[in-house]
Symmetry: C3
Subunit: 390 residues, 3 copies
């Protein structure tokens, strides 16, 4: 199993044979995000569970993500992708354990893998920002509106993706070129999955189903992508997440969980614009009756950014406004939310493998559960993040 | 630390020096198993804790194993093998954490490493199917009878293995050639280990001891392997696994735990036959008295399979019958079992790194503990597994 | 992305272009420690929580560390280091999960990275033995006196390190040559960190701060290093670690936590001497009043060792005496300690990647909390460790 480099004393081309080694088939890469959220803080009671747990009172330095990715096109039609996060909590007091995010493999149905079956735990094709890696996203956290659909964006199931070769190359190029693409989840994608979100066991007999169509295209020098997507299923509230005293509407804790979303992206060449919106239904805590009801939800965001390359550095100033009105099924008592946040920030890549983000957040968040049935928090804070890419 | 490739303008052989790099000493490989057990299900109350937790009611897509292996012969007499499973549970509701299966190193006592000391967490040499990797096993799960000896097949200890060079090569070939070998646990192996199974702390002052002899030999075109093995020790029931109300026979929860097993394998060239049987003693819940007693146990299995290679694909139809009557010390209240299962299935390798297994199971299982003192479940189900090898 | 090795039929030097691959930037290494502590044991009630949990009654084979390190100088000024331990506990009964130790990156501020900013979870620059890797340390465990400052030696924060190039090379050489150096934490280092120790969330609004100066220098054939260091902050006791019944002095569980230490090392060429001592203040359980008070603490150790190289083996006999009088803030009720331990041992490296340590410990330890308010244990034991380096 060693490279063989043979030569002769005659003037002939060297016959060279290099066996494929494991490291030619399998690659390792990853990224790390370290944060500090306490500068210019005006309200220490303002929190954002979906963002990170180090906002406000008693927060400090925080390791938001520590990802290591093992991946490879190990044969013509077989690709795999395994991504543990090494900053996961085994419980609220035991941090930084390794827990899976992705663990899937793609089986190509044709030579160019234009038709693929994806098996395992992977991102649910719902929303552009959800698909986009946190390594590439400009704001520090995903928007509440679409990200509340699937905690950690992932679930276990079987999916089908289709994209012609030239679109697969475009999806790939949109990431590599620094344009902050979503990666390749097909022009058309659909699938079935457990529906309880990544790393949770299925809790009923019915899988969720999802479908998505997205279409990137070039207009002169610009690249535009537009997409629609939707999913439906029965979500089962976790008993461990229910406060004693909640009066449950549904005896078996099953709630209708369905959403539809539209996405529009103008990639930053150099000016970019991005917006998504979704509407749907899901469980939501009702503070006046102390029950959890099936309620309507809606929300989205709009973001503008400008990509400035100079020397070997990149600067991306951006601003994002987001809105969400609805429940969050993954949180305590399907917590009721109303969010109005404005963010103004800057991503700076001073060195090849290193990024800094400063994000000034003007936030107004109502989030209410049985323990805190009246809870409107307003405040501003400066958020900082250092990111390493390896 | 860079490769040096030197050349001259003269017609001399190239002097080439390639330093050993980390990736020449250390390799990475692994495999993933994704399952779905709900098709053709006739009894949603039929479960199999030792198989996987996604049988029956509320089951869905399931990640059974997600293994990454780091290994290498790092010097002439030193080999190491580290295998975390990334689909382990930190608790019943927190899935997909990384937890060790193997973490051992072999110190060779001679040039050819025919005599080896193994130190660390590794498989206990008890049973052929237990030694065989799940990556290679044809049925979806190990048989209850022998696998109930050691949960996860592993423990922490010190072992000695001996096999002459040509048998070491044979053990290796039996895996590489797709004949579903067990790997090399020596012709003769013995050792001492904690006895509480992998990833559990020792709970008394006495180690378990184990010994095994196995002998593979060729008869014309066929390869046959026959082995015997046994272990003995004191197993301590886990308090966390005891239902309140159980009347314990043993005050300190120590129970005699000893077994002896015989194995016979005719490797599939192309027709294969495999059988194992074990008898012994161990703790077992007695539903009539609500006590846990030291009881006799016995059971085994017989399996036939046929290996069909065509083009670059492989098909292996198989059937297995298994029987077990005894307690399972690792489960709640040392649960009492009586198992009669018939499986008919097919392993298909359509692509180099990808396998599919369909396993129709006709099952009759009595499994009783303090919470369910009368519990006989019968039913059929079709089990599906997609496996990736990388 | 493949190596290109081109040649011509003419007598010209080969034009060779080798692209940088992921494995040229990223390396993997690690080590494993397996222990057994029960030989020649005279008191089965003598334990040492900070050492390992397999001392005394019900102890057995024990996997103390299973480290895998991913690291690399990925660009001129960016270095990263990620080290999970695969033998971490998710709870007392669930062993061998992967949990981070280190996860940091260094950003060099100049060409030679003499000035570096370190971001992430890393060792707090307090104490020589704390900085020294367990892979290199001669005694089996760190001394109680300085190691009780920071559990697992690490925390999350931002640090600055400075060392001129030739000292960076010296720090590196002291490790590579087998002289058991500490690695490069600068001649001068300082930083801010959460203060609740690695893998614990911050629990108040104030970071800890630390500063350290260390200076290695050559005197004839000998190498000497001398250092001083100190830190201060408010430590918050963990509620989960408090016994019901403890009368707390401080309502918010915040306690002053500050220490200063001196270090002196004569590297073993071949005779070595090493000593460290620290004094400070921290929370400590008072058994007479059942309260936790801010108390003085002090202690240190002195160690002599002799490095004997012969053929390709190394033998290092050593002895260490250690003393500590004070509380341990990370343990139950800020347990009160008085430690007098003498160790006599031998490290033997019979093969390139393999080490054995035998450590005879004569121990006198008083350790008292609310559950055991009177607890003085004396005893001797022989401790064995097998270590693999890969």
């Amino acid at each position: 199993q060693t490279d063989t480099l043979k030569t002769t004393t005659e003037n002939k081309p060297l016959p060279i044979k290099i066996d494929k080694k494991w490291y030619d088939n399998i690659g390792i890469r990853g990224y790390t995000q370290v944060r500090y959220n306490r500068l210019l803080e005006t309200n220490e009671n303002l929190g954002c569970e979906q963002c990170d747990r180090s906002w406000g009172k008693d927060g400090g330095f925080f390791l938001r993500r520590m990802r290591v990715i093992l991946y490879g096109q190990i044969s013509k039609q077989v690709y795999f992708y395994i991504q543990p996060d090494l900053a996961s909590s085994a419980s609220s007091e035991r941090l930084h354990f390794a827990q899976l995010r992705d663990a899937y493999f793609d089986i190509g149905l044709d030579k160019d893998n234009e038709y693929r079956i994806r098996i395992g735990q992977s991102k649910i094709p719902y929303g552009f920002e959800n698909m986009q890696s946190s390594q590439n996203r400009i704001p520090l956290d995903r928007n509440d509106a679409l990200n509340s659909a699937v905690a950690n964006e992932r679930d276990l199931g079987v999916f089908f993706y289709w994209a012609p070769k030239k679109y697969r190359e475009l999806f790939s190029e949109l990431v590599k070129s620094g344009l902050k693409g979503s990666g390749d989840y097909g022009i058309v994608g659909f699938g079935a999955f457990n529906g309880q979100a990544a790393n949770n066991p299925e809790a009923n007999n019915d899988p969720h189903v999802v479908a998505r169509v997205t279409y990137p295209f070039k207009v002169k020098n610009q690249i535009i992508e537009a997409g629609i997507q939707g999913y439906t299923g029965q979500y089962v509230l976790s008993k461990a997440n229910l406060s004693t005293g909640v009066l449950n509407a549904n005896e078996d804790l099953n709630y209708l969980d369905q959403r539809i979303a539209a996405s529009f992206i103008l990639y930053p060449k150099p000016f970019g614009f991005q917006t998504e919106y979704n509407i749907g239904k899901g469980p939501e805590f009702n503070p006046t009756t102390s029950t959890i009801e099936n309620s309507s939800l809606e929300g989205g965001y709009a973001q503008i950014m400008y990509k400035l390359d100079f020397k070997e550095q990149t600067l991306i100033p951006f601003t994002r406004y987001q809105y969400y009105d609805g429940g969050k099924k993954h949180e305590r008592d399907a917590r009721s939310y109303k969010v109005n946040d404005l963010e103004i920030g800057l991503e700076w890549q001073p060195l090849k493998n290193f990024e800094l983000v400063a994000n000034y957040t003007i936030s107004k968040r109502r989030y209410e559960d049985f323990l805190k049935p009246v809870n409107l928090q307003e405040g501003n804070l400066l958020r900082l993040q250092a990111q390493l890419n390896f």
